[in-house]
């Protein structure tokens, strides 16, 4: 027996098959074996989860003792282990035989055939037919109720990997092992089926199942894929690495990649299952030209010639200021780089922007101004190193599910959580402190938190003195911002604000993460400045587990901005006025970059209404649906002389175009995306472009060529070589100079700044308080009301956002099997039970939602996920036209609109039965 009071040595020496090896004390026997590049069979073991010890196939011999299970037994100093022997093979064969004895031997008919871990184990140990002939007694009915997960308990081997994946990776705790002994089975919830058990359909259970007890429908019929391509997900900004499995040129299914640095084998329902849009029948497959108000099909040559000719004509007639381009954060870095090069080098205008304008432009602006780089400071993996997390205006468990799951795991492991959000999100319900502030009052609460930090001297004086400037000004600004003052504005308890500031300051490593509830909620830049102030004042920057990071909404919204699809900057956020940057671009492009003041997206619509803007080229962004004040946007587009829209599906923006060019999805192209934590990752072609479509980079390149400029990236076959684009981009982008396709292939990813080919990339920016801008700038942020306030006529606050099962305006997700899920069927107005009672509204009733700009009618969903006084809608359902309601008040620095703050009035217009 061990002496518990003896101090354990740091390392121990053991023998594995006669080889001596020194390993850390506490290492499992399995890890010691793996360290020697040896293996033992396992079934219940998964390297992402805690050992479970159930299958017993990993038993190894220990000299002088009885065999132990390698997966969970720590090595014993001086012990000698044997991983293989006739005894062990027989033992493993007999254990495998017990597992197989009640498993249907219908391998040919099974979706796991060829990839079944039980099948290969049986082969490995030489098991043929089990000796225990007897009628099979486990034959429960299959559960086919879920569109993505098929449960066939007769095949279950009781390894509980699904249960543990649900607990330890996803954190949803939906599955459990029910019953005991021979009757043990996996159930969802209280055996009510997946959907009723609050399953989030992430598919981790299917991914972990070593057999086919849990399987993805359709994979059995398809057989083994003939190609597996690793690529990066095109939904949110987490940047999950995906293995796309294809057969006969079509996607069979998508699985998470365990090597993915951002997701480590995890995905959400969208990335994993919502891919059918690529093969949708209504893909645009031929260019369209509008004649007499109607579209007609056209050849590529005809359409491209028309586009080039009209652009040239308008350019020559009205000058470069009459042209504007909207690039796409859904497209690759290379495509965005080409778009801004087309704008600047061919059309001679800085009027190029991307949709970060309407999401995180305030974050990028504030981080750039205050710290010197327009991106999050830390990495996703840092949430496990934080002891306090403060999440402001973000709902990551729905909008960034894989990152959200990681936050949940950190909180379950003991990290303190502060949530500032008007909604009772899942994380708000888990939080130690939830401040349910009124939409639009962020700056007041953040100022009050700074007030508490200063008033109670919870500061890192050394850090402030050594690494920052502007403290006195901030101190003066927040002097009057007491918690009591902020509480009046935000409708919360002042003690909550005090407690939150104290909790944040008490953390050894405190991290602030925020979402669009900051940037789209009025004065977003000031809110971001305020949070950066908090981090600087408490020294919570430049270390693991600290930092200030926005959780970015789209797959490549970071990259689109990084590569210069913005009106005021080249790539790397270098000002278009910066003489060094101008010189470098002049040399690379052979033309003088334009000097005009480029239009931002909202300015473009203004200019179109004023008649100054004549032509637009919109790449993959449905502005007529996703931008606020829809009526105004549509009017702007209609007033243009010439509108080109490049899209994969016909949508309200494309309907207004003069020429529609059919582009391609991420599955059909090569390139790179940058995720939310500055991670540059490869996008690889998994399927050929659907006939009739062309890769977006190629189209942009071709438009330029036909306008008389060769952008210089055409491969011999006329396609665009994305790696060549990256080479030029990297050359012109100081923080990307070390990036190349060769390095990305070798490393899997690079986090910028990566200034030279030897640089490993940067997981944490501003390490040691050495800020990229020199000293961190503390910024005074005086309180102002948002542009929109409730009054007697419009007494309710509407805030908008995403839900788990859909993505933005639903162009992709609503063309997939995701719509088979009950929760993904229609838009609802989420309203608190108390408010609903007051208005006589019940779940399912039709409610008229009226703002100062318009009205829509949706069904009500009475839920405590909404707080009193604030209602919530998504914008996933074009037919409900949420954005019609939203005003065009905007952030004073960046023009980011206030999607999250909209005064409305509500009226019930029909009962649930209507």
């Amino acid at each position: 027996m061990l002496d518990r009071n003896k101090i354990d040595p740091a390392t121990v020496t053991v023998k594995v098959d006669g080889i001596s090896v020194e390993v850390a004390n506490g290492t499992t026997v399995l890890d010691a074996i793996k360290g020697l590049n040896k293996s033992v069979p396992t079934l219940c073991y998964s390297d992402r989860m805690k050992p479970y010890g159930a299958c017993r196939t990993c038993l190894v011999e220990v000299e002088g003792r009885k065999p132990v299970a390698a997966c969970h037994t720590p090595v014993m100093d001086g012990a000698s282990y044997r991983t293989a022997s006739p005894f062990l093979t027989k033992l493993r064969r007999n254990i495998t035989e017990l597992i197989v004895s009640d498993h249907p031997l219908e391998c040919l008919d099974c979706s796991a055939n060829g990839r079944c871990e039980l099948q290969s184990l049986a082969q490995q140990v030489g098991l043929r037919t089990p000796r225990y002939e007897s009628p099979r007694t486990h034959n429960p009915p299959k559960d086919d109720s879920h569109p993505f997960v098929k449960l066939e308990m007769s095949k279950c081997i009781g390894c509980a990997r699904c249960v543990r994946a649900c607990d330890e990776v996803q954190g949803s705790f939906v599955l459990q092992m029910s019953g005991r002994g021979y009757d043990t089975k996996v159930i969802a919830g209280n055996d009510t089926g997946f959907e009723a058990a609050n399953c989030v359909s992430c598919g981790q259970c299917v991914f972990e199942c070593p057999v086919a007890a849990l399987a993805e429908p359709g994979t059995r019929e398809a057989g083994l894929p003939d190609q597996v391509v690793n690529t990066t997900c095109s939904y949110c900004g987490v940047g999950c690495s995906l293995d796309v499995k294809t057969k006969d040129g079509r996607v069979v299914n998508i699985e998470p990649s365990k090597r993915g640095s951002a997701n480590r084998g995890h995905t959400c329902v969208k990335g994993r299952f919502a891919h059918q849009f690529a093969h949708s029948d209504d893909r645009l497959t031929t260019p369209l030209i509008k004649e007499g108000g109607k579209f007609r099909e056209a050849s590529w040559d005809e359409a491209l010639d028309l586009v080039a000719r009209r652009f040239k004509e308008i350019h020559d007639q009205h000058g470069p200021d009459s042209m504007a381009l909207i690039s796409s954060s859904r497209c690759t870095n290379e495509e965005n780089y080409l778009m801004q090069k087309l704008a600047r080098a061919v059309m001679g205008t800085n009027s190029i922007d991307n949709c970060s304008r309407v999401c995180h432009s305030p974050s990028a602006f504030a981080l750039g101004e205050a710290l010197g780089t327009g991106a999050g400071t830390n990495s996703f993996q840092d949430v496990h190193l934080s002891d306090v997390l403060m999440i402001v205006g973000a709902n990551p468990t729905e909008a960034h599910p894989v990152f959200g799951a990681r936050i949940k795991q950190a909180v379950l492991a003991g990290c303190k959580l502060i949530v500032l959000d008007p909604r009772n999100t899942e994380l708000a319900r888990m939080a130690d402190l939830h401040i349910p502030l009124r939409p639009g009052s962020n700056v007041a609460v953040i100022n009050a938190m700074q007030h508490v930090l200063i008033a109670e001297d919870l500061l890192d004086h050394d850090f402030i003195a050594r690494c920052s400037e502007g403290f006195e000004e901030v101190k003066a600004t927040v002097a009057e911002c007491t918690p009591e003052w902020a509480a009046e504005i935000a409708h919360v308890d002042p003690e909550l604000i005090r407690a939150a500031a104290r909790m944040y300051a008490a953390g050894k490593a405190s991290q602030i993460l925020w979402g669009l509830g900051v940037t789209e909620a009025g004065h977003g830049s000031n809110t971001a400045f305020g949070m950066i102030n908090m981090a600087v004042m408490t020294g919570n920057l430049g270390r693991p587990g600290t930092g200030t990071s926005p959780i970015r909404g789209q797959n490549n919204v970071q990259g689109a901005s990084d590569v210069g699809a913005l009106p005021n900057v080249f790539s790397d956020y270098r000002s278009v006025k910066d003489p060094v940057a101008r010189a470098e671009h002049r040399e690379a492009w052979g033309v003088e970059p334009p000097t005009n003041t480029g239009l931002r997206i909202p300015d473009m619509f203004e200019a179109a209404h004023e008649g100054k803007l004549k032509a637009m080229y919109i790449l993959a962004e449905d502005v007529a649906q996703s931008d606020p004040n829809t009526t105004f946007v549509v009017g702007a587009l209609e007033s243009l002389d010439f509108l080109v829209v490049q899209e994969i599906f016909m949508n309200p923006t494309a309907e207004l175009a003069d020429v529609v060019l059919p582009g391609t999805t991420f599955l059909e192209k090569d390139g790179t995306f940058v995720n939310s934590d500055r991670r540059i990752q490869r996008v690889r072609r998994a399927i050929q472009p659907v006939p009739g479509t062309r890769v977006d980079a190629e189209i942009v390149h071709e438009v330029a060529r036909r306008m008389g400029v060769d952008l210089g990236f055409a491969a011999e076959d006329g396609t665009v070589d994305a790696s060549k684009v990256m080479d030029e981009l990297a050359r012109l982008t100081p923080k990307w100079r070390g990036v190349s396709y060769a390095r990305l292939e070798a490393h899997g990813f690079l986090q910028w700044p990566c200034p030279d080919p030897e640089h490993p990339g940067t997981d944490i920016v501003h390490r040691g308080g050495e800020f990229l801008r020199g000293k961190a700038r503390l910024t005074a942020t005086p309180w102002q009301e948002p542009g929109e306030l409730p009054d007697d006529e419009y007494p309710w606050m509407l805030t908008t956002g995403r839900q788990l099962f859909h993505y933005n305006v639903g162009t992709m997700t609503r063309r997939t099997d995701i719509v088979k899920l009950h929760k993904a069927k229609e838009e609802t107005l989420r309203i608190h039970p108390g408010d609903a009672r007051q208005l006589g509204i019940h779940t399912g009733d039709n409610v008229k939602v009226q703002s100062r700009r318009g009205e829509v009618t949706v069904r009500a969903e009475v839920t405590r996920a909404a707080n009193k006084g604030t209602v919530f809608m998504t914008f996933h359902f074009p037919e409900s036209r949420t954005n019609l309601l939203i005003g065009d008040a905007a952030d004073e620095f960046t023009g980011c609109p206030e999607y999250k703050v909209c005064a409305v009035r509500l009226a019930r217009v029909g009962s649930a039965e209507a």
Binding site: R4, P51, G53, R56, L98, S134, T137, G158, Y182, T184
Partner: protein, 442 residues
Amino acid sequence: MAKTTSFETERVFTKTWSNPNGHSLAAFKEAGGYKALKKALEMDPAAITDEVIKSKLRGRGGAGFPAGRKWSFVPKTDKPKYICVNADESEPGTFKDRYIMERSAHMLIEGLAIACRAIGAHTAYIYIRGEFGLAERRMQQALDEAYADGILGKKLMGTDYPLDIYVHRGAGAYICGEETALLESIEGKKGQPRLKPPFPAVEGLFACPTIINNVETIAAVGPIIDKGADWWVNLSRTEAEGGTKLVGVSGHVAKPGVYELPNGLTLKQVIYDVAGGMRNPDKPLKAVIPGGSSCPILLPDELDVSFDFDAMKTVGSLMGTGCPTVIEEGTCIVRLLKRVERFYAHESCGQCTPCREGGDWLFKIISRIEEGKGTMEDIDKIESIASKIEGHTICPFGEALAWPARSYLKKFRHEFEEHVTLGRCPHGPIPVAPLALSGVVA
């Protein structure tokens, strides 16, 4: 009711059992109860543990691990520490702890309070088998009395030492008698054994240092502290362990029941001299399961051995819980094994393969043999399965499954073969009692 025997000893556990109200606080105090706790509270906690080590008190749930040494494994940390009393007495053939709870509940409380003091625990749980109605009521009643009397609570016996004791009821799973499954159950989870290490003494209940002891072990602590380790050692007639022992004899004996006996009598003495020998003179002794149904079976010529933890190992079996089951001639060993394996197959928690699948196959194959439908290969399969279960599972449940099968087969193989050759059970038709398991009707 304890029976008097020719091996009369000083009564320790059964002192108040002849009094119908012996379980009350008043009766316990009158018999000298809670003196030991008072004494212990004046002792250095380490001295309590030392005294228990000296007494050679061993774990009476079956493993026989020295109780005092177990306590000494608790690390010195700031974390809370816990004691859980394992009162999930569920092993077929074992019935002693329930009588302590029904008749000497305060004895358990006193011992538990002393043990808590020894390791520095301020919270203790008594995990009582779900089926034990009276034991639970008596235990709760005794706790209520102790709280009302100021013995337990914020001030243990008026000192500054707070102690709370809770009764936690099981819900009918044998596996929750396995110490880590018991902890899972108290934590509100499904009762399944944990992987070890970490051992409970380091990381147990709510991830804090925890000692789990059997009812009888804890109940013995009071008298040991009261009268001293030497007195306890002298009660025994063997070097292996000190004290007296509650022995529950069942099966085909003339006088089955619970007896308080000095440790160190032979099994033969227990059966013939204490329990009155066989009930039917025409049916001599055939076999004995010495300490609960999981223990390897013994033949009549293997009984002249001291009934203690060490000596029983020399005959290839175990003392277990100290409750022998006696079997007379004419009993079908195959049927007996089927009955035993049905129990274990039903009680397997289902976590690890050998026991989840193996238990069920053992039961199916043995049933087949009993019905006369088995083959000689089936007999070999029993050994093949059982030998792959033993020593290869997460918890000792695997042994409980394997030992009966392997020992019955080793000692009575001819009976199994007879079933196969005759094509029926030589002991007559199979009783119609429903032995349904997993949808298979035996």
